[in-house]
Amino acid sequence: MKLQVNGVMHEVEASPTARLLDVLRGPLGLTGTKEGCGEGECGSCTILLDGLPVNACLVLAGQAEGAEILTVEGLAAGQLAPLQQCFVDDGGAQCGICTPGMLIAAEALLRRNKAPDDAEIREAIAGNICRCTGYQRIVDAIKHAAVVRAGGAS
């Protein structure tokens, strides 16, 4: 099977009916995408599939063939992307287990909406459960990242 992940085409030995999450974490070794519930509830396994945020635990590998996949490992090019840096600086990550999925959901938002308000940010990450932060600092980090991406002060 061929999967296009983070801009690279991979040949993988995997059943097309395997969950995409298992193929990413197993044969592809991309363990940044996490499993928290296995039923599309926690959002820890959020990836972009052709630009849309989806739960990798609910997508079968065969369904992702021919699509462009982005995981947390694809966010940083050399140095941290502004979104990642803001999560670190502003307290957006605590235990970190929800962070990869949260970043991907935020990335999907910021690609569509350059200057989201609080309500739009909260809605965009409502499928990503965080048990540590209370969300305020995640919201702040995403808002901050939007400013940095727009060329504003970091």
Partner: protein, 748 residues
Amino acid sequence: MIIGRSVPRIDGHAKVTGKAVYVDDLPPRPGELWGVTVRSPVAHGTLRGIELDPAFDWSDVTVVTAEDLVAMGVENLVALIEEDQPILATGVVRHVYEPVALVACADRDKAERARAAVKLLIDPLPAVLSLDEGTVVQKKYRIDRADVDAALAASEVVIEGTYRVHHQEQLYIEPQGVVASWHEGETPVVHVAGSLQCPYYVHKALKKAFHLVDDAAARVEQTVTGGGFGGKEEYPSMIGLHAALLARKSGRPVRLIYGRKEDIEATTKRHPAVCKVTLGCKRDGTFEAIKVDVVMDGGAYVTLTPVVLSRGTLHACGAYRFAHHRVESRAVATNTPPNGAFRGFGAPQTIWAVERHVDAVARALGRSPIDLRRQNLLQKGDLTSTGQVLDVSVGGQECLDAATKAADFDRRARDLEAWNAAEAAAGRRKRRGLGISTFMHGAGFTGSGEHRLKGKVQVDLERGGRLRVRSASTDIGQGTETIFQQIAAEAADLAFEDVSFENPDTSKVPDSGPTVASRTVMVVGSIVQKAAAAVASHVRAKAAPGESFATAGDRLLAAGDAETKCLVQYVPPQSRAFDDATYQGDAYPCYSWACDVAEVEVDLDTFETRVLRLFTAHDVGKAINPVLCAGQVEGGTLQAIGWAIHEAIVWRKDGSIANARMTNYIVPTSVDAPEFHTTLVEVPYPNGPGGAKGVGELPMDGGAPAVANAIEHALSADLRWGAGVLLPDLPLLPENVFERARRAEVVS
């Protein structure tokens, strides 16, 4: 100053790039097996036997039962406070989900099938499923100060109330799990790596069960841990033992990681409790006497219940001044999974009761909940229920002022009233309300705990003038690594980057005591400070004139200077000794204080509650890292809000859990969570690093009562409910508020 600066967390880079290695991210080891646990489906029963389905192919499956433990000479015991909990049940099962057998197989799917092929022969016995039916007392305490009976008899106003709270699941997003291996040899070595808070708890449990004498015979290592909140305090000992047993019998490494369902079902939860409060006061609202009767549900085994009950007992009189106190508490056994550590550790349960009761008193006296609190809040020089004189770091009043100021309370209350009136006039059904809670939380272990623990930290000089902090305090998200580096760098007068943090691994770090009880910064941090300062001043003392710190350090290392390492043991500050028999004396070195103001919106038809804004002020002594500290405050407060209005374990009549899924165990999402307005108040505690005291648990204590108070405020123009409070019990699920409201008189 490095202390007080929001240095970006040092594990942040790994966490935002996906490089942080959690237990499930560890690459499979050669020959590794997947372990699973066979559990009792019955709440209470006689275990007659275990049958392996003869139709199943067991050739590549390892099975461990209590009989194997006997054969292997393993003591069937999870070492904790009481020696009552077996590693695998034998003879009797005492709760649904109790581990009875273990299975491992290289093929994960087959291991799961093998689990179903183990048949447990159990004759059911009558089961006790709620604390109301519990008769077996696991522990009890009594505080009796001055003369409560006489004081109540003489009080102008005496109010009584009964308040209940429910289970809560920690719901860390990373389920529990470990990887274990067993190395046979002249001295066998067992190695457990996993998601855990307290490596030395697991270490102790392994040593005890396997009769290991040498500390090095058991090695326990923390992997990056995806949240704990107490849930990974004691339970990892169980999983660690299970995986180690499978590893020993199979001779292979074993990975034992729970799925979400199993994690919710089998692991510990917050203790349910019922508290009866009697409070006597003057007509002008001055509190005089309080009597609290507490019953907690310990579950099927004692585990940490005595300590949880202790903390609940010590917080049962709230943050208020009384001349007379009596608290009688007990924990009873039930046939439900053992309840255990969860942020707050017994305090949120009794603080719920006392805070709700203060609201009941305010209602009875026709007083505002704020004013009544302000009038009775403990001040410097006052005495607590244990007779402890509050002589340092008493910030309750400052917190009350800061939170109400941030909320602009009076103006906001007026605006809400106008808003509600406009809604009502338009025939709409939403109402808003404001609520408040004031609370304190004892920082560090209770009473003589730290004397017994003798927590240790070591700081080592390394090449290049760098320091390495070795402690068993784990970072489970709160930022221990970063904060310890800040404390050490400050103490040593080095740059933040010149300090590093050793991963908690029992082969590399001393036992600093567990990562619990809001003690990490205040207690362990204080010895990090001492050790770092000692090493640095030694290097500086030995440095030749003009010689740099790094050069001098390298020279001392090369010379084998012993004082380039410093091991410090914690010595609790002098205080009035705590008497475990009378529960009098200094219960905690100091207290952290807080005030929450919640603004809610309630739907008069559906009774859905939304917390719109949460203004909170927390007196933390000193915020070592304000961003991380506020993150603790907000995250803990949201857990409290979740406990109040969303979360509930749904028990079936057979003692099993009906909603062991994230779809049905409801924690708040980003759209459910309020906007937080957090103020960090700093009334320094002289013995904490930089003045810091504990913060981890405090935020869990006040969210629920503040929200309840706000809901009642929102409903007060439309409903009358007579004496007491409308909402004495958690959870405040819409269904429950609906039930309560239906019994109240509808005004509009």
